[in-house]
């Protein structure tokens, strides 16, 4: 093992195999410890990979159209039990191999009879033969039995499970957009004030106090929105439905404000003081220096803050879960909406593990993960560029 450890050569003895400053010839234990530290440090990458893998894995059957959610499936008459292979029968009865092995013949026949009865019940339902997990039904409106025109419906209960994801997407984006619309001016304004205009003494206590807001758990914000804000907003705006997307957006903006504030405050503070000092020396007021010199320099960072804030808004769960109601496709801000996160949280425990509803919710989770991943990556890249630029100039 010692042989593998780098031999400090006379010339460049300060650089080991990891390019680090090393005291003297590495001890075997030292070598093992370094390898271990290296292995553990990959955990964050591993976790991102595992999240993608294991959420995507549950969603794969939906993505590839292998799932069949039709209420009326092809039935095998009970008297044919000996004619089909055990594997086929097991798949037909949706049993695990262990359950199948433990079950006696009579139980299997009984189960098959149940299947036949179920099929007869749904025979008269015109939509019962539709596999609602097909992409066509996920994305486009469908004229369901009992509706007069094609509609987008998410309704994973009843005989025909309707899995149109458009209402959920609309809900997510609508609520997040309201939250961002409210949060961005307030948080960026506050970031400019705290980082550039306030006196150092005020700044010292303003910043931690604003960051206290991020210490409030989202379930508490949800509680506050549900029991206090809902009543106040309804009285002020006089709308009809108590729980609507405007309320959800307002509550959500509370969670987004602190995030956008601290990232853009960071970006504004990272602009070298010499910029401001030069502007002030040329006769600009504090506000002019902040608005015309510092803000343009830190603009990518402020943009990144908004992007990351949007990602947070899309992914926030408890607040929207507690303030959201029915899923309707409507762009009116006073109509209720049901974002993706709320749907997953509310329905996952009721879904049969491995069933189409369960997999559909994992598919939504994958979608959410990909959305936020892209947004985070964008924000991260922009911040990185900004830091590099400012450090290069400073």
């Amino acid at each position: 093992m010692l042989a593998e450890a780098p031999k400090p050569s006379a010339g460049k003895r300060t650089h080991g195999w990891m390019g680090t400053l090393r005291g003297h010839r590495a001890h075997p234990m030292e070598w093992i410890a370094e390898k271990l530290i290296f292995a553990v440090s990959l955990s964050a990458i591993l976790m991102i990979f595992l999240i993608f893998l294991f959420i995507g894995r549950e969603a794969l059957p939906i993505l590839f159209g292998r799932m069949n959610s039709a209420a009326r499936q092809e039935v095998i008459p009970p008297d044919q039990i000996d004619k089909i292979s055990p594997e086929k029968l097991q798949a037909y009865l949706e049993l695990t191999p262990k359950e199948f092995a433990e079950m006696d013949r009579e139980t299997k026949i009984a189960l098959m009879e149940v299947r036949v009865e179920e099929a007869q019940e749904t025979r008269n339902h015109p939509d019962a033969a539709i596999n609602t997990t097909g992409w066509r039904y996920l994305l486009f409106p469908q004229k369901w039995e009992g509706y007069s025109k094609p509609e987008y419906i998410w309704q994973p209960v009843g005989q025909v499970h309707k899995y149109n994801i458009v209402p959920l997407l609309v809900g997510s984006f609508k609520v997040s957009a309201i939250a961002m619309f409210l949060a961005i001016p307030v948080s960026i304004g506050a970031a400019i004030y705290v980082s550039q205009l306030a006196s150092p003494r005020t700044r010292e206590w303003l910043k931690p106090s604003i960051e206290m807001l991020s210490g409030i758990p989202s379930v508490v914000l949800g509680f506050f929105a549900l029991l206090v804000m809902a009543t106040v907003l309804q009285r002020v705006f006089g709308y009809e439905t108590r729980l609507n997307s405007f309320l959800a957006g307002c509550a959500l903006s509370l969670a987004v404000i602190t995030l956008v504030f601290s990232i853009s405050e960071d970006a504004l503070t990272s602009v070298p003081r010499s910029y401001t000092q030069a502007a002030l020396a040329l006769g600009a007021s504090k506000w002019e220096a902040a608005c015309q010199i510092v803000l343009p320099a830190a603009l990518p960072g402020v943009f990144a803050a908004a992007v990351l804030g949007f990602g947070r808004a899309l992914g926030e769960t408890m607040i929207v879960l507690m303030t959201s109601a029915a899923s309707v496709v409507s762009w009116s801000i006073f109509d209720p909406a049901r974002p993706i996160t709320a749907t997953i949280a509310a329905e996952l425990l009721e879904a049969v593990v491995g069933g189409h509803h369960y997999r559909m919710l994992f598919m939504l989770g994958t979608l959410l993960f990909v959305f936020t991943f892209v947004l985070n990556l964008m924000g991260d890249l922009v911040m990185h560029r900004l830091k590099a630029r400012l450090e290069g100039k400073a």
Partner: protein
Amino acid sequence: MKDSTRPGVGLKKDGFDWFSFLGTGLTGLATWLIIAILCVIIGNILYQGWPNLSWRFLTSGVEEGMFNVEKSGVLPMIVGTASRVILMTIFVIPVGVITAIYITEYAHTTSPLIRLIRGAVNNLAGVPSVVFGLFGLGFFIGFVGRNMDAVLNPNSAQPIWGKAGLLWASLTLAVMTLPVVIVATEEALKAIPLGLREASLALGATKLQTVLRIVLPQAMPGIMTGGILAVSRAAGEVAPIMFTGAAYFIHGLPKSLSDQFMDLGYHVYILSTQSPNIEQTRPLLQATVLVLLLLTFSLNIVAILIRARMRKRLRLLH
């Protein structure tokens, strides 16, 4: 606004500077608006919750029914939340600290791998909490737990590990709070002067000895801050544990790692959305919210104080 961007025009000082006045006023207003919202939320919760808080409430369970205003308490939830958070700390602190040590002490600052690790950490910090819940369900319960059941007790009909439980909730939270610990530790390690490391190396200590005996003790307050921030973040999270361990109602306290538990945050959610009579159970809800808020806030304040002390001490060191 347009005029002020033209060179020279905004710099005129021959009169009252309306732009600056308005700008300062508006941004100041935004700041005070946030502070006011914060005060309203905290004030409301304190004012409504305080009269309902009592020693009996803190020390009794839910045996008499969880919606019973006179008799039910939050002891099982406090125990459940505390145990999941303590377990989480045991998992997340070593991994987070070691990762931060690798990033700051061992790796090249310019290596692409560091870029990758940092990117992963930043991304992990932005993953929605409900996605962590799905991950815990799909990976820890559905994959690890089920395979553990298959190996450890193949004959048992009931799953022991392949279902929601304390261990899986803690592990899910550990994955979620990993970035918090990494970032805080990194910050603490970076603040330690290079001279200390060089002195140690010059005296013949190895790299590992330097890290363990010189760097880490110095970074201890920073690591503690990270740990406390992670705990306060995790204590209030509900979405990741909804599918991985929290129970709607359960008798007694959790006894083993595979048991489900009751949780403060989840209880707040249940009381505010599933209560049979929201007006009647409101005192319960308000007191529970207050307990949760006091818990997370006191942790946050401790973290802020430690950080402030640390910064002061480091200023002396430099």
